[in-house]
């Protein structure tokens, strides 16, 4: 890379470890949800409705973050909600990354009609308002986890495609690509063995960002009631339900919001931290 990035010293340590710690907690919560959540996330008890968090007056022991208007334990619901969030982040994030990056690499490296086709498609795609597009898609596909993941992939691949295409275009003009041609590499081998390692840091940073975005999109879709059925607790669904009683029971809205916020932040920081730690040029 012909710029100053290599000589800038950055301290990735704290950022990487803190975000990794939060993500580890998140994954553990998702995996162990049935065993570690103190209550059944679906069990309703109208006698225990709108209990405040444990440190406030009127709290009931055992309900650490309070209960919602139907008497369901907020902490248990957040822990169970992490499952959906994790599945969406991993599967939708990875699938979006694979689709968008592949198209971006092809467009940026082979140029010609492939580039024209892909680039026009991206232009057209990006003119749709994303949330409305998602709602439309879910309306067609029907609600459910698979539909949510599909909607995220179909909408967000352009994010990868544009950035990866630009970076590939840039790398394709470097002398090492000519050098690969002189060495007798095929075009495909040049793309995979020479250019991809140089675009990979960008792809990884985008991937972790996309995982955060996927969690947000799922929350937005739950918020408008188009995500998963109501007997699966999700963070977005909790926020939507909490909105109606925000003046009486703010904790129903605030705690899933905090979980969402830290998870999205941690994904983005984790990506940057990884890049700074493992990119041989930046290291």
């Amino acid at each position: 890379m012909l710029d100053g990035r290599g000589s800038i010293r950055r301290r990735a340590g704290a950022r990487l470890w803190l975000s990794a710690l939060w993500l580890a907690l998140f994954v553990l919560a998702a995996l162990l949800a049935p065993w570690i959540s103190p209550h059944d996330p679906l069990a309703q008890d109208l006698m225990l409705g709108r209990l405040p968090p444990a440190w406030m007056a009127g709290a009931e022991p055992g309900y650490w973050l309070g209960t919602d208007s139907l008497g369901r334990d907020v902490l248990s619901r957040i822990i169970h909600g992490a499952r959906i969030a994790l599945i969406v982040a991993l599967i939708a994030g990875t699938a979006t990354c694979l689709l968008g990056s592949t198209l971006g690499l092809v467009a940026g490296f082979y140029r010609g009609w492939a580039d024209r086709l892909i680039s026009r498609l991206v232009d057209i795609w990006m003119a749709f308002p994303p949330v409305l597009f998602a709602i439309l898609l879910i309306a067609v596909l029907g609600t459910g986890l698979t539909s949510v993941i599909l909607a995220i992939v179909i909408i967000d691949w352009t994010r990868f495609c544009r950035v990866v295409r630009a970076e590939t275009l840039n790398q394709s003009k470097m002398d090492y690509v000519h050098s690969a041609k002189v060495a007798g590499f095929t075009r495909l081998r040049t793309l995979v063995a020479e250019i991809l390692p140089n675009v990979l840091p960008t792809i990884i940073a985008l991937l972790t960002l996309e995982m955060g975005i996927a969690v947000i999109v799922e929350a937005i879709l739950s918020f408008v009631n188009l995500s998963i059925s109501t007997d699966q607790p999700t963070w977005g669904g909790m926020i939507a339900e909490g909105r109606t009683s925000i003046h009486q029971a703010w904790w129903v809205l605030v705690f899933p919001l905090i979980a969402l916020f830290f998870t999205v932040l941690a994904f983005a920081q984790f990506g940057d931290g990884l890049r700074e730690r493992f990119d041989p040029v930046l290291r």
Binding site: Y176, K181, G184, L200, P280
Partner: protein
């Protein structure tokens, strides 16, 4: 096996002149090389000199078929490679290698030196040929684990040379390979190249704008100006009896330690 490794006749290269492109319609063609003919005998070290914009780099890139000529013939070992497709060039590639001007850009920044040298050989990084190639250019074999940005300019250029010679080519094109180096590294790289040419029986085309570098290395020199060959002579003759005014101009541009001695 032909006596001349390269036989170039009436070689023409043109590009679209985008500065004079009309709003509609195609841009006029701009001739970079205007019908160049020369031969490179097997085992020769040919110098290609010329000022900025004379077309020497274009000539070099065309010889190794990074660019396709628009006209003329270009025989490599008796076979016309002027218009071969990428696929048809593939089997010839290992025989024609190139060392680039800027090693920082021509070495993949995210691959170790070992992988860079190993890749064209389709070898693993622990293949003995990699250590050999590195030692051949005067680098310790354990440099294979380093990344290009961890090397100095002279060391990087040695890696570029190692990559080229590891394939045991018959012909190497060196495009301004010392112009980015300081004077002492320049001398070392030139000395190395001199030794390698003799040891491996290479044929070398050496592009430079610096005649003093050419004089030390080359047996024959062609002088390019604005896409045409203005002089093609043995090095000795060129320095003793320059025929063309442009050659004399280039010779006069060399700083001499003693102004009273005309080389």
């Amino acid at each position: 096996m032909a006596d001349n490794i390269f036989e170039v006749a009436d070689l023409r290269v043109d590009v679209a002149d985008m500065t004079r492109k009309p709003l509609f319609g195609s841009a006029p063609r701009l001739e970079i090389l205007k019908g160049i003919s020369f031969t490179i005998p097997r085992g020769a070290v040919l110098g290609i000199v010329g000022g900025s914009g004379s077309g020497k780099t274009t000539l070099g890139r065309t010889l190794v078929r990074l660019a396709e000529p628009s006209g003329g013939r270009m025989l490599f070992d008796g076979q016309d490679i002027a218009h071969l497709s990428d696929a048809a060039m593939q089997p010839l590639r290992p025989r024609i290698q190139m060392i680039f001007q800027d090693p920082l850009s021509s070495l993949n920044p995210r691959l170790t030196v070992g992988r860079t040298v190993a890749a064209p050989l389709n070898a693993r990084t622990n293949d003995p040929r990699i250590g050999q190639a590195l030692e051949h250019v005067g680098l310790p074999a354990d440099f294979a684990r380093r990344y290009p940005h961890e090397l100095s300019g002279g060391q990087r250029q040695r890696v570029g040379i190692a990559r080229a010679i590891a394939m045991r080519p018959e012909f190497i094109l060196a495009d301004e390979i010392v112009s980015g180096l300081d004077v002492s590294s320049q001398a070392q790289v030139l000395m190395l190249l001199e030794t390698l040419v003799a040891e491996l029986g290479l044929t070398l085309a050496f592009i430079s704008h610096d005649l003093s570098v050419i004089r030390r290395l080359c047996s024959r020199v062609i002088v390019l100006r604005a896409g045409e060959i203005v002089e093609d002579a043995a090095t000795e003759d060129l320095f003793e009896r320059p025929q063309h005014a442009y050659t004399r101009e280039l010779l006069d541009a060399i700083p001499t330690p003693d102004p009273s001695v005309r080389w």
